[in-house]
């Protein structure tokens, strides 16, 4: 099982690396933000996998905090950062 956890974690990390393309590409701010949200969810999964691999409760706490804080960032984005016109940053 250990091997599976680690391999899956690796797979998810690779997944995340691919998702970075969306952050870079945009085109809108919201698209980038979406990708960041994806990162958050993926990171929670990776953390839980690593936690299970290490039988570490602390890592689950990290995942919990992650899950909560990702929402805070997103709300901050919606409420604050997204006030500029969408056409602003088309590369």
């Amino acid at each position: 099982m250990q091997m599976l956890y680690i391999s899956l974690a690796l797979f998810l990390l690779a997944n995340l690396a691919v998702g970075m393309w969306r952050v870079l590409r945009g085109p809108g701010v919201a698209d980038r933000m979406l990708a960041a949200q994806l990162f958050g969810t993926t990171a929670v999964a990776i953390l839980l996998l690593l936690a299970e691999a290490a039988k570490s409760n602390a890592l689950r706490d990290v995942a919990l905090v992650f899950a909560l804080l990702a929402a805070v960032t997103a709300v901050a984005f919606v409420k604050r950062a997204w006030s500029m016109p969408e056409a602003r940053d088309i590369d």
């Binding site: 690593l50 706490d61 990290v62 992650f66 805070v72 604050r80 940053d89």
Partner: protein, 319 residues
């Protein structure tokens, strides 16, 4: 076992590559928002790095701050920046032209040299070094807690933490001394946001308390708890939070200084009783540390939320 190590090694290398390229992209992005989002992602991955380095305490703090609060802070700043000056992009591209080749290439060479030099220095460090691990282990029994990181933070090097609390307060004082009051934003009319906050805020508070409690025995502690509490505050501020003006004067200030204040008073009392700065009696160390941590959590949370607001808070309803 070999395969496992190989997979972990691959994981490490991919993670290092990702973190590094994120950092580079943050620096090279012309678009500010893109840089910020990349930075948030950078924080996320840093938390994973901490996990890989067997530093769950830091991973918790990074998860709350690096991946959460800093991003929120930056986005809020960007928002206000663009409200002052709507066309950031023009200014940015205008500056791009001014940057000559030499002003970019020379620092780049310097960068490579620094990396090489420091890398050489690192590689010439001894392979195995215990640092202070044996000293910490030896004295854990007298520290009053079971989590070595908490023992270092609140007991062995508690004086540093006292001063760090002052640093935190100073950052806020400096922000406030910049002048300008910030009115609390009006209550959001968005029902979805409202209900999200209604759920998240209590959970954040619970998690904060949990981290505070668990810090004595396992990863967690005042700083992580405070950061999560701060996140709750930020969420409340974002969703519109009505606080009466009278609470924003000295009750708020009281909470803000509670952490450093209790620390200082505790230090002074222990100086009188034990004859040493922050010298806890072994039997009482546990609850004293918990008391300090509780006060610190409240202060950290309040300070971070107030920092997010970025000015002296003012109730929306004034007379």
């Amino acid at each position: 076992m070999e395969a496992l190590d190989f997979a972990l090694g691959l994981f490490d290398i991919l993670l290092v590559f990702l973190v590094l390229s994120l950092a580079w992209l943050v620096m090279s992005s012309e678009d500010l928002f893109r840089a910020i989002v990349l930075f948030v992602a950078f924080g996320l991955l840093m938390a994973l790095v901490w996990v890989r380095l067997e530093a769950p305490d830091i991973a918790l703090a990074e998860a709350a701050i690096g991946a959460g609060l800093t991003g929120a802070l930056m986005m809020a700043a960007l928002d206000r920046l663009s409200s002052v000056k709507p066309i950031q992009k023009v200014a940015a591209s205008a500056q791009r032209k001014q940057l000559s080749l030499s002003s970019k290439v020379l620092p780049l060479i310097a960068l490579v040299l620094i990396v090489l030099g420091l890398g050489y220095a690192l590689l010439s460090l001894p392979e195995i070094a215990d640092g202070l691990t044996p000293n910490v282990k030896e004295n854990m029994a007298q520290s009053g807690v079971k989590n070595p990181v908490t023992a270092v933070l609140l007991n062995f090097r508690g004086y540093d933490t006292l001063l760090e609390m002052v640093v935190l307060l100073l950052a806020l004082l400096s922000v406030w001394s910049l002048g300008g009051e910030r009115k609390l934003s009006p209550r959001s009319t968005n029902p979805i946001l409202g209900s999200l906050c209604r759920v998240l805020v209590p959970v954040l508070i619970l998690v904060s308390c949990y981290l505070l409690w668990v810090g004595a025995d396992a990863p967690g502690g005042a700083f992580q708890a405070g950061s999560v509490l701060g996140a709750a505050g930020v969420l409340l501020l974002l969703s519109g939070w009505h606080v009466e003006q009278k609470y924003l004067l000295w009750p708020l200030r009281f909470i803000l200084i509670l952490g450093s204040g209790v620390f200082i008073i505790m230090a002074a009392v222990l100086l009188l009783i034990q004859g040493g700065l922050l010298t806890y009696p072994v039997a009482q160390a546990g609850w004293m540390i918990l008391l300090l941590e509780s006060a610190a959590t409240l202060s950290i949370g309040a300070t971070l939320a107030a920092l997010f607001l970025g000015g002296v808070p003012k109730s929306r309803v004034d007379q």
